[in-house]
Amino acid sequence: MSYKDILVFLDDGRSNDVRVKTAIHLAKTHGAMLTGVALEAMKPEHLIVQDEDAALMQTKQFAQELLHGFLETAENEGVEEVDTILIPGKLGESARTMAQIARNYDLVMLRQPNPDKENYARLKEFAEVVMMHCGRPVFFMPYIGAHRIPCKKSMIAWDGSPSSTRAVHNAIPMISKSKEVTVLVVASKKTSHEDMMVDQLIEHLARYDINATSSYIDPGTFDIQTTILNEVADNDIDILIMGGYGTPSIRQKIFGGVTHSILASMIVPILMSH
């Protein structure tokens, strides 16, 4: 089982190079087509222009350069099928367009927004809109870059919800290539042993030749997100798989608490499905 069509988001962030590198690696191992996408309205960080028209011209040109650079790198690295898309319009609209485009891909690669940067709020909203509306798994590359590519050790943060179920199933092509898979359940009132049916999940994964082990963690006085991040760090995990929560119907989208804080503080790539 492989991904056949991968979409990767391009920008001027620090993680762009490693994001492209990871995308190329995935496209090559899966034999997938790779498409790079840039936003016409994405303002490069170094750009300081007051005049709107001038700014738009600059950003357009910048987006074109990103796409060119991407095309060149991908072709040099020997990806068989490469394509580029330039999304027009303002940043707000472009998130919707991106979600629409993303629906037709097997995997969508975005970046984790950097909380220290000026564009954090905009990028976070962009990521939320895309994830909530595309219906496809989204791979978030940390803004500090990836720990280890290809990912050898995967961890599934399992809470039995429809979102985390979708995340696991969508991640099968990814985790079937990793050496170690752990199903992590953070003990709480909502995650009783019986309801989680972890053994059955492991049995199901085994039918895909994935050997997973389970781990029950009592968070003690920590909250769930801290517990998950601790486990990721302690076990030297390369990729975390989890459900992404939110309420798509409300205009002001609100990411679930755990999703939100993990997305802000993660240091390894995350594969999320809503």
Partner: protein
């Protein structure tokens, strides 16, 4: 790409044997593990009793009988299988079925029969399993289904996340069909949401999975979206319909969307839905 585990729901409805048959055929072609699930507390259709104890005993007996039948069929077919009896009243059993569904690649349920006595319970059961399992659900019509394996598939495409998930979850089925059509009903809402342009992109992506789909656009005119879809289904002699299933899992009183509900009660062919 194949399904590796399939969960099939067993009951005393008319479609039960066709459902088991469909499940076994699919398990065989996909090389999948099949699990049969019966409900311990489902009141048999023919039982005329209001005594709770009698109902419970009869229901229990029926569940065991259904499991025995399933085991017999599955053993004959020589597939890898197991079975479960799900305890609890209507809410608890739906919840538990959804939990079991999480660990399957496909869940096969019965379309609730509007004339059947269990209609309300079965409808809310189906809704709940679909909304909470997060997995694709294949509904076998209550009148049965005999065109298994499927030859002609229709994707009802409206560009929503649910329709997207349904399509991708259906890839193992689509790969084994002879003809796939992507249907876009060009209602006002559709044209605004640009799902129209995206239909071509979808068919391009499906091609990369080795599935050759044709895009067809229909203007609904005065007809409802549901009836347009049903017309297309019968017109093209479609064997399986793939669509998004809508609903609001956050409300206690679950409400399936209008199109979903009316299709779910009036369809005559198997429908694969994902939420």
């Amino acid at each position: 790409m194949s399904y590796k585990s399939i969960l099939v729901f067993l009951d005393d409805g008319k479609s039960n044997s066709d459902r088991i048959n469909a499940a076994i055929t699919m398990a065989k072609t996909h090389g999948a593990h099949l699990t049969g699930a019966a409900l311990q507390s489902l009141k048999p259709e023919l039982l005329n009793s209001n005594d709770e104890k009698v109902t419970l005993v009869k229901a229990n007996r029926m569940a065991n009988r259904l499991i025995e039948e399933f085991k017999h069929e599955a053993t004959d077919a020589g597939i890898d299988f197991d079975n479960i009896v799900i305890p609890g009243n209507s809410d608890a059993s739906a919840n538990s079925m959804a939990h079991h569904g999480r660990n399957a690649d496909l869940v096969i349920l019965a379309q609730p029969n509007p004339d059947g006595r269990n209609f309300t319970r079965m409808l809310s059961f189906a809704e709940e399993v679909m909304l909470y399992s997060g997995r694709p659900i294949l509904f076998i019509p209550y009148i049965g289904a005999n065109k298994i394996p499927f030859k002609k598939a229709l994707i009802s495409w409206d560009g929503t996340p649910a329709a997207t998930r349904a399509t991708y979850d259906a890839i193992p089925i689509l790969k084994r069909t002879e003809e796939v059509t992507v249907l876009v009903v060009e209602s006002k809402k559709q044209l605004e949401s640009k799902s129209d342009e995206q239909a071509e992109a979808l068919s391009r992506n499906l091609a990369r999975h080795g599935i050759h789909a044709r895009v067809e656009r229909v203007t609904p005119g005065e007809a409802t979206v549901a009836s347009v879809i049903l017309n297309e289904v019968s017109h093209h002699d479609i064997d399986v319909l793939i669509m998004g299933g809508y609903g609001t899992p956050s409300l206690r009183q679950k409400i399936l969307g209008g199109v979903t509900r009316s299709l779910l009660s009036s369809m005559l062919i198997p429908v694969l839905m994902a939420h």
